[in-house]
């Protein structure tokens, strides 16, 4: 098949990616600025023999996609801040029951109803630690329309491979802007499926501790009759209060993500080859402004680079440390009062690298000019860099 070039909105690209990745169940509830995803899925899924459901609220949306995944379907929902908050309890259920599914959160200003039509990155922490209890999350953060398509596919793939919910963090601007997208032909798309059990039903353990850290997963109706519970459970799936079993379950939730962080997380680097001593870290839409600012700075012979994590949770910590080793002054730019910056502070050696915030939370984007000003300010203060 020939590659198609289309002008797509971010939310539309998300629908394309989901459909290509094999999502065949969508349960959602209308909310700005994510609604176009639900509308797109409502159009596409019945044509493919899939199912779209408009649920009564976001709690039910999250529940329905977990139920559908237990029955074997790749499933997804899309929402924004208030809805993402409502989903948190059942999102925790998906973590503890290791049920693959994808949650798209198109970020808008908060807290509460906040700024429904304005851009924000204030759900950065919530995407990693939104629900109660110990667990590790995967959250991807694309910065453009074509990348939304590919990261939606990646989100579905990661959820299937690691048997975990995956959050796709968009924002009002990337979701609503239109860009040119090369639609890949289906044979060029790498679609992953969850591993099915090969043992006879009697031997099947829904939460078996395996060498890869991820258990094979049967679906309801496959002939494996098993129990799934949100209670802390043993490997078979029955509630437990045995200390060793509790620890084993919680370690499994953590380790399958933490031990694979370097594989899960990827970075986009701009002008980092010549070891600049000043760099910008930002994600999503802000990274587009950062890249522009770096180009403008380089035109003015200012040696600056930019690092963009494509995955916010987990960060590939070892690679990040290595990347930032030559950097003496690190600007962390984000659309909130300081969330990504805390993660960066945690991972970077601050004896060598000074960390400088650049934050905006009035519902508008950080502009390249703002970043360039900050670069100049940083360059002109302190040691010659």
């Amino acid at each position: 098949m020939e590659k198609q070039v289309k002008l797509l909105q971010g939310n539309e690209a998300c629908v394309e990616g989901a459909v290509m990745a094999g999502v065949r169940f969508f349960g959602g509830y209308p909310i700005t600025p994510s609604t176009e995803i639900a509308e797109g899925m409502a159009r596409r899924l019945p044509l493919l023999g899939g199912r779209f459901m408009q649920m009564e609220d976001e709690i039910a949306s999250m529940a329905s996609i977990i139920g559908a995944s237990c029955a074997g379907a790749k499933s997804m929902t899309a929402t924004s801040g208030p809805g993402f908050s409502l989903m948190q309890e059942n999102l925790g259920y998906a973590y503890i029951t290791e049920t693959p599914c994808v949650i798209v959160n198109v970020q808008r200003g908060g807290p509460s109803t906040g700024l429904p039509t304005k851009v924000s990155q204030a759900d950065t922490m919530q995407a990693g630690f939104g629900t109660h209890g110990d667990y590790r999350a995967i959250a991807l953060a694309p910065s453009g329309v074509e990348e939304i398509l590919y990261q939606t596919i990646e989100a579905v793939n990661l959820s299937e491979m690691y048997r975990t919910p995956v959050v796709l963090l968009l924002d009002e601007v990337t979701a609503h802007m239109r860009e040119k997208v090369m639609i890949p032909s289906p044979e060029d798309v790498d679609v992953k499926q969850r591993r099915k059990p090969t043992v006879p039903p009697d031997w099947y353990k829904h939460f078996e501790i395996s060498p890869t850290g991820v258990s094979p997963m049967a679906a309801f109706g496959d002939g494996y009759r098993f129990n799934i519970t949100g209670l802390t459970h043993d490997q078979v799936g029955f509630p437990t209060a045995v200390s060793s079993e509790i620890v084993a379950m919680l370690d499994k939730l953590r380790d399958k993500i933490v031990k694979n962080a370097e594989d899960i997380c990827d970075y986009e680097l701009t002008e980092m080859d010549d070891d600049p001593k000043v760099a910008i870290v930002s994600y999503g839409i802000v990274a587009r402004a950062a890249k522009q600012a770096v180009m403008m700075a380089r035109d003015q012979r200012l040696k600056v680079g930019a690092v963009r994590p494509k995955t916010i949770w987990p960060l590939a910590v070892n690679r990040l440390r290595k990347l930032l080793k030559p950097v003496r002054k690190l600007i962390v730019a984000e659309l909130n009062q300081g969330q990504l910056i805390n993660m960066i502070k945690h991972h970077v050696d601050r004896r060598h690298t000074e960390i400088i915030p650049l934050q905006r939370y009035d519902g508008e984007l950080i502009t390249p000019a703002q970043i360039l000003n900050k670069i100049k300010e940083v360059k002109h203060h302190g040691t010659q860099v």
Binding site: V173, H176, R178, R288, P368
Partner: protein, 190 residues
């Protein structure tokens, strides 16, 4: 007057467009058509965005298109190369976002007090009403004019996309509107 076009003739430069007016004038659709023509047919990179919210209902409305031969980093407009204003309010609000060398195109009936001497004025809405029969196609007339005056989009691409995007039954009217836009701009250039 042709500085914008010359700059664009260099090819790979960033070129920023804003189509503005009031809600209901079809400017977002015009922005999408322009972006689709430039992006999917002319083969350049393009980002289209718009303002959301209450202003989409009668207040100032706008659609932005950023064009470049190279990768577009920052997706929003920074300094406009081209501003189309179909209302005085939009013209007053967005004129300050323009480059000094930018091109201003206005509806000459609606924008009675242009903020500069250097601009192109056409009675888009009146012409759409009188020559095509519906004021609604003023957005397409203005696209034709933009194409002819700036060359930022090819005629071929624009024609193709307007045909594709026109609601069924209105193809002919929209094509006439586009031709009208080409014509009035050509005459103005003489």
């Amino acid at each position: 007057m042709n500085r914008a076009k010359e700059k664009h003739a260099v090819g790979s430069d960033r070129y920023e467009i804003r189509l503005s007016g009031s809600g209901g004038q079809g400017l977002i659709l015009a922005g999408v058509i322009l972006a689709q023509a430039i992006g999917t047919i002319d083969g350049k990179n393009v980002v289209q965005s718009q303002s959301y919210g209450p202003e989409a209902r009668g207040g100032a409305s706008r659609a932005d298109v950023v064009v470049s031969g190279d990768e577009i980093y920052y997706p929003k407009t920074m300094k406009l190369d081209l501003l189309l204003a179909l209302t005085q309010e939009a013209c007053d609000t967005y004129f300050r976002d323009m480059k000094e060398t930018g091109t201003l195109i206005v509806d000459s009936n609606m924008v009675t007090q242009p903020p500069t001497q250097i601009y192109h004025g056409f009675p888009f809405i009146q012409l759409a009403k009188e020559e095509i029969g519906i004021a609604m196609v003023a957005n397409v007339v203005s696209l034709g004019t933009i194409c002819e005056l700036t060359g930022i989009v090819s005629k071929k691409a624009l024609i193709e996309v307007v045909k594709m995007r026109a609601p069924r039954g209105t193809e002919e009217k929209n094509m006439k509107a586009l031709e009208l836009g080409f014509k009035i701009a050509k005459e103005a250039k003489k």
